[in-house]
Amino acid sequence: MALSPELCKKMYTDMWRIRLFEEEANRQTSLGSVVGALHMYCGEEAVAVGVCSNLRDDDYVLGTHRSHGHCLAKGAESHRMMAELFGKATGTCGGKGGSMHIADFSLNMLGANGIVGAGIAPATGAALASKLRGTDQVSVCFFGDGAAARGTFHEGIGLGALWKLPVVYVCENNQYQQWVPRMNVAVLDSVADMAGSYAIPGVSVDGQNLVEVHEVAGEAVERARKGGGPTLIEARTYRFYGHSLGDEEQYRSSEEVDEMRTNHDPIQTFLLTMMEQDWLTEEEDMEIQNQVKDEIAEAVKFAEESPYPTPDNVTTDVLAPEQSDKSRPGEVAR
C-alpha cells in the first residue's frame, strides 16, 4: 500500500495507541489492577503497525506472548483489551485469556499465544484455509527470534513453502529471548538467513523504521496474495522494557537501552519523517496524542467499571454449548 498522508497518520496513531495502552497497563500492574505476566511490546511498535497496515480486515494475524501491539494494530478495541487484562467479563476473552491470549476473531486476529513458536503452523493452516476457499486472504504470523530455534518454525514454514501458501512469517528479532541475549544461544545473527532451507525469500529490515517495515511487508503481503507463496521477514527491533514485569534486566546495560530509546524509538523516528515530508503538523501531533490518551483513559474506566466474570463462567467455553447437554467429565469431581 502506497504511503498516503492519511495512512501515515493512521499508522502514527496506532503506534501511539500501542505505546500508551501498554504504559497504562504497566501502571495498572503496579497498582495491582492488572495481574499475571505483562510482556511489553513498547519499542517494537513499528513492526506490528508496519505489517498490519498492509492487511485487509479479513486477513489473518497470529501472535505471541507479546501481542498487545499485534492486536491493536489489527484493529482490536483498547477498552476490551484493557478489560481483559483486568480479568473482567467484558474483556476480549471474557477474562479467560489474559494478556497472553488476547484474540479478536471478528477481526481475524486468531490470538496471542503463550507457547513460543506455536502460531507458525496455525498461521500456515489459516493460509491453507483461504487457499481452499479460493479467497485471497493472507495470513501473517508474528514470532520472536527465540521461536526460530523451535521445531515448529521448521515444520510450519516448511509446509507453507511446500504448498506456496499466502502467508507472511514475521520474526521480531529483538535480540533477547526472555533473559538470554540471542547470540548466547544462536549461531546465525539474522533469522532471515534461514529462509534458504525453505526456498522462500528471506528479508531483514530495520524494525525501528516504520516506512521500511511497511514497504517490505507490503511486498510480502502482495506476493502472498497473488499466489507467490510465503516470505520470511526478520524485523530487527528492540524492546524498551524487560521481558515481563519484574525483570531486573541484568543481562543488558542501561546504556544500551537508553541508546535505543533515544535514537531508535520507532515513534520518534516516524514523527521526524512525517514532519520532514510535511505530512503532519505539530498541532495534529498533539491532537493525535491527546485523542489516544483519551482513548486509553476511557479504556481504563471501562475496565474498572466492568464486572468480573461469575463462577458459572468457569465451566463454559470448554466445549461448544450445543454439546453441553450430556454429562460432562469433571462433574463428579470436587
Binding site: 489473518y60 497470529l62 474483556g91 476480549t92 476473552c93 471474557g94 477474562g95 479467560k96 485469556g97 491470549h101 484474540a103 479478536d104 476473531f105 471478528s106 481475524n108 486468531l110 490470538g111 499465544n113 503463550g114 507457547i115 506455536a118 507458525i120 503452523a121 496455525p122 498461521a123 500456515t124 493452516g125 489459516a126 493460509a127 491453507l128 484455509a129 483461504s130 481452499l132 476457499r133 495470513s139 521445531g151 515448529t152 521448521h154 515444520e155 510450519g156 516448511g158 509446509l159 511446500l162 504448498w163 463454559t316 467455553d317 470448554v318 466445549l319 461448544a320 450445543e322 454439546q323 450430556k326 454429562s327 460432562r328 467429565p329 469433571g330 462433574e331 463428579v332
Partner: protein, 323 residues
C-alpha cells in the same frame, strides 16, 4: 444394512461427509499415495483431489496446520499414521486445539478430528503399539471416541467430523479388517453415549475398543458358570457416559472394566473410580480392571501374547468380583 469392514466403514464416513460439506479436508502422511497404511483415505484423492494433503514427516506442523485451518473455518481430518507419533504434536493438540475455545472466551472453534490408529497390529514393538486414551481424556476441551464395530466407526466418525470441537478418534489397528453391519443412510451416533451391547443381571463389564468383542465372548463363556453378564461399550471416553455405566452397575452390583491399554492411570482407572464413587451403595464386590501389565509393548510374539488381555482375563476377573 450392509456388512463392511471397519476401515471401509471409516472410508465411507469420510467420503459421505466430504461430499456433504466442502470445508472438510484430509491431511496426513502417505494419505494419497497409499490411502495411509490402513487405506482409510483411499479414493479421496481421486474424488476430492483439492481437499487432501499428503505431507512431509512433520506431525507438529500437520497438527498446527489443522488447528489454524479449523480456526479459520475449515474442518480438517488429521491422520497421524500411528498414534505413537502424536507425541510429536502434543502442544498442538493439548495447548492449542483443546484450549483455544476457552482461552478466547468462546470466540474460537476448532472443529478438527484427529484420527489415531492405535494398539498392537503387526509386531512393531514399543513405539508403534500405544493407545493412551487417558492422556486425552485428562485434557479439558478434547473429546475422546473409541469405536469398536464398523457401524459405530462410521456413525461416530460422522458425528466427530460435525462436532465444533476437537475429537481424538482412536482406531484400534487390529480391528480394521473386522466386519460388521453398517446401517444405510446418514448414520450418526451422538458423542457421549455408551452402548449396552448385551443385557445381563449379575455383573457389568464396561469395555473399550476391541475388548468389547472379547467381553461379549467372555459373557457367553460365563453363561456356563451361571453368570448373566451385561456388556457396556464405553465408546465415548470423554465426555464419558457415566449415567449409562453407573445405572448398569447399580443394577448388577458388580463391575469389571476392560481396556487393552495398561490400566495404570488408564481409561479404565477413571471408569473404575467413577463407578466406585457413584455406585458404592449398590456394589457387591470390588470394581476390577482388566488391562495390559504396565510395560512397553515388546516385540517378540511370545511376549506380546502375555501383554494384550484376552478373553480368559475377563472371565477370570468377572469370576473374581462375583466371589
Amino acid at each position: 444394512m450392509r456388512t463392511l469392514t471397519f476401515s471401509e466403514a471409516l472410508r465411507e464416513a469420510l467420503h459421505e461427509e466430504m461430499e456433504r460439506d466442502e470445508t472438510i479436508f484430509v491431511i496426513g502422511e502417505d494419505v494419497i499415495t497409499h490411502g495411509g497404511p490402513y487405506k482409510v483415505t483411499d479414493g479421496i484423492a481421486e474424488r476430492f483431489p483439492e481437499r487432501i494433503f499428503e505431507t512431509p514427516i512433520a506431525e507438529a506442523g500437520i497438527m498446527g496446520v489443522g488447528v489454524g485451518a479449523a480456526m479459520a473455518g475449515m474442518n480438517p481430518v488429521v491422520e497421524i499414521m500411528y498414534m505413537d507419533f502424536v507425541t510429536c504434536a502434543m502442544d498442538e493438540v493439548v495447548n492449542q486445539a483443546a484450549k483455544m475455545r476457552y482461552m478466547t472466551g468462546g470466540q474460537a472453534s476448532v472443529p478438527m478430528v484427529i484420527r489415531l490408529p492405535c494398539g498392537v497390529g503387526r509386531l512393531l514393538a514399543a513405539q508403534h503399539s500405544q493407545i493412551m486414551e487417558s492422556w486425552f481424556m485428562h485434557v479439558p476441551g478434547l473429546q475422546v471416541v473409541v469405536p469398536s464395530t464398523p457401524g459405530d466407526a462410521k456413525g461416530l466418525l460422522k458425528t466427530a467430523i460435525r462436532s465444533p470441537d476437537p475429537v481424538l478418534f482412536f482406531e484400534y489397528k487390529r480391528i480394521y479388517t473386522s466386519t460388521g453391519e453398517v446401517p444405510d443412510g446418514d448414520h450418526t451416533i451422538p458423542l457421549g453415549q455408551a452402548k449396552i451391547c448385551r443385557e445381563g443381571e449379575d455383573a457389568t463389564v464396561v469395555a473399550i475398543g476391541p475388548m468389547v468383542q472379547k467381553s461379549l465372548e467372555a459373557a457367553v463363556l460365563l453363561e456356563d458358570d451361571g453368570y448373566d453378564v451385561e456388556v457396556v461399550d464405553a465408546r465415548s471416553l470423554s465426555p464419558l457416559d457415566t449415567e449409562t455405566i453407573c445405572e448398569s452397575v447399580s443394577r448388577t452390583g458388580h463391575a469389571v472394566v476392560c481396556g487393552e491399554d495398561s490400566s495404570f492411570a488408564g481409561a479404565a482407572s477413571e471408569i473404575a473410580a467413577v463407578i466406585g464413587e457413584n455406585c458404592f451403595r449398590d456394589l457387591k464386590g470390588p470394581v476390577v480392571r482388566v488391562g495390559s501389565p504396565h510395560v512397553p509393548m515388546p516385540f517378540s510374539s511370545e511376549l506380546v501374547k502375555h501383554v494384550v488381555p484376552e478373553v480368559p482375563d475377563i472371565t477370570e476377573a468377572v469370576s473374581r468380583v462375583m466371589m
